[in-house]
Symmetry: C2
Subunit: 425 residues, 2 copies
């Protein structure tokens, strides 16, 4: 099915057949959901040992009382466990509560309003408006943090090897009110992009262009979340920064939300010692300390880097068949047509598909009306505005394999139907 | 020892004897700490059942997966457990993470910067400067939230029955940029004051004077933390508000930090449905949801209101002897003199003592040099500024009874010594 090669008659025949198939799906009363990038119950159960793992043993190396207040930057054992995930030193990491989003929110907010202590003044005091670069498509919750804090977002192109660095550097040279960039360096949400070493090298040097108060927000949400052992790694941003003396220009984030329990995990943040000092001073105004007991649970469950790797293989065992089903349907249904292009990620939680320009909302609507929920079109762009109206995020982790089979049949049908109708119109 | 009755010769004799006693304390190498309002290990152990209480059972009434993301306002069972503590309805409470301070921080911040949704615009958009009323002495972490968010603080007198309401009302009538008041209505930090019914009635009507965007920040941190069963209760603020139609003018806070584990408890916030709707919308920009597993642990441990009451009696058994020792030393050492006045709280975590004007810093310094750490003088006032330099907060929960005995001997000696020397100077 190549639309550009088809006669009007051919298109009308396709439309009739596709519409008939669509009506059958509609009549079958489906209720399927491909919207949410969250672990399935099967994945959560991989960590079920954690909820009662302490066995009354609350002892820790520092011999402090983990039950009490304090310890704003987290417990040492957890720092030792997660510092390698971000490739930072033990004195360059903070272990928080259950949400890396909260750490990101505070990091943007403190930078905007309160500044960086000895490192520099607030963005608000430098410029009347602060701007962020947002590689697109990207993660909607990054964008909503900016929007909530009144920070203007500038979309930049996300290539197959990461953000378009020529574009990024040119923008930074033009506009000194650009103070941050959102990055999901490995298995980017939603494309699954892994940043190349060359891109990471250039990101490590952005602080030299953009000035002292610029920060890279490096959300390494899928740092250890590959679908196989030979998936591409991402270069260490902090290591690159050390060679360029730009350690203060980056904030690194991670969490166990997709390692242990999505709602009861542990978030962490890597940064230079100078950044850590300034950040914890501000953070201490908002809380006395994180839940250290839950941090200890994580240490007992995951133990060390090998423990994390082993645990993540079990997640891959659950996730990979789901990704394979999505890709099988896309290849079989849309491969060799001119109706869609998509990514084939080796990790993370999403597959990103581009329809023909102008069709994303229509496809999402058609699918919904046939009982298949998809993330709202536009959600992967700042302000919910996909200028070409073509990007759709597919999240296959929650449904069962059988459900994904059925949902993808519907989805492929909807893409074809919308495409043919557009061509006919 | 009545300083105002004593001759200079008498004063010099006292000074000599007190200084000699002080030197003995100094020589004895004490290392005692009366600074921190946190539970002792003995108290924390009262809840040790909680860390492994689930026994693999993660089921809940709503039959949702508590391990996963979501549930921004907390689990129903926890709402049922804690709504009575704040005397609000089930649909008027949000159950959060481990820190009520974080909820307070966000509540002030959202009000200042983002506003109240349909209820009203942000304080920042109304006035170039926002002001809060702070009954003094009060809780330093309330004051640091204001300071961090650029909110100006106006101290108001805290009487034996609560804030001086004539003063509060007069200030609100004068200045429409006053948008909030901090209140710790039961066993106020540090005085132990319990607000009278008449004061609560007037607080419930402040919104009528101060306008729609005014909020009472009602930090009921010690709602169930009495030292005996017959300690005074505080009237229900929300009930009073209902009679006056001012439900939207109050935010109520509480937590289990001093019920279960100080660092791994559950915080909650009571408010009108309209406030809850606006607040959760903003909160959802900062996080996906709280740790619901830990919320379930609390339900299993505490069960219901009777369970909380029973549990708090065990805390009182640990705390009351400590308070009694402090009060015994104050009465025996300083009773009938003109050198100090203090509160005798029936709950909470603190005893508040006023020295003669100008001596708080000196007493804290003398005590520190004899090995007894006290909360820095001034900490109980906005900007750390006690204008009369006389308030000292005594926190007896952490040290053992024996340690408190020794610490209080030193403390009483320091108060006397500083007082006599001031009179002589």
């Amino acid at each position: 099915m190549e639309l550009t090669q088809a006669s009007n008659e051919q298109l009308r025949e396709w439309e009739t057949a596709l519409a008939e198939e669509y009506q059958q799906y509609q009549a079958s009363g489906l209720n399927l959901d491909l919207t949410r990038g969250k672990p399935s119950a099967q994945q959560l159960s991989l960590s079920d040992e954690i909820s009662d793992i302490l066995g009354g043993d609350l002892s820790n190396e520092a011999n402090t009382d983990l039950r009490n207040y304090g310890g704003l930057d987290g417990i040492l054992e957890c720092k030792e466990l997660f510092a390698p995930v971000l490739d930072v030193n033990i004195d360059e990491i903070l272990i928080g509560g259950n949400s890396s989003l909260t750490l990101m929110y505070f990091a943007v907010m403190f930078a905007q309003q309160q500044g960086f202590g000895e490192l520099g003044q607030s963005w608000a005091s430098e410029n009347t408006s602060t701007k962020f670069l947002c590689p697109v498509p990207g993660y909607d919750r990054h964008f909503s943090v900016c929007e909530h804090l009144g920070i203007e977002m500038i979309p930049v192109t996300l290539n197959d090897d990461g953000p378009d660095m020529d574009e990024v550097e040119a923008l930074l040279k033009q506009d000194s009110s650009i103070k941050g960039i959102w990055c999901v360096p490995r298995f980017s949400n939603p494309t699954g992009t892994v940043y190349s070493n060359a891109v990471v090298e250039r990101i490590a040097q952005l602080g030299k262009i953009a000035g002292d108060n610029f920060r890279v927000f490096w959300d390494n949400a899928y740092a250890v979340h590959s679908l196989s052992d030979d998936a591409p790694e991402v270069a260490s941003l902090m290591a690159c920064c050390r060679t360029h003396g730009t350690e203060d220009s980056v904030y690194l984030f991670g969490s166990t939300s997709k390692i242990t329990y999505a709602g009861a995990g542990v978030a962490f943040m890597g940064m230079s010692k100078a950044n850590l000092k300034a950040f914890t001073k501000h953070l201490g105004m908002t809380q006395i300390g994180p839940d250290k007991i839950n941090q200890l649970r994580h240490v007992k469950l995951l133990k060390d880097a090998a423990g994390i790797k082993n645990h993540m293989r079990k997640h891959a065992d659950v996730l990979k068949p789901r990704f394979d089903i999505v890709l099988k349907h896309l290849r079989e249904g849309l491969g060799g047509t001119d109706m869609a292009e998509w990514t084939e990620p080796e990790g993370g939680y999403f597959i990103s598909l581009n329809t023909l320009p102008g069709l994303a909302q229509e496809v999402v609507k058609l699918a919904a009306e046939a009982g298949v929920k998809l993330t709202p079109a536009g959600a992967t762009f700042p302000y919910g505005n996909d200028p070409e109206n073509r990007n759709i995020r597919i999240a296959p982790s929650v449904p069962t394999e059988e459900e994904i089979e059925r949902a993808m049949q519907v989805f492929v049908n909807c893409v074809k139907l919308a495409s043919v109708r557009q061509r006919l119109a």
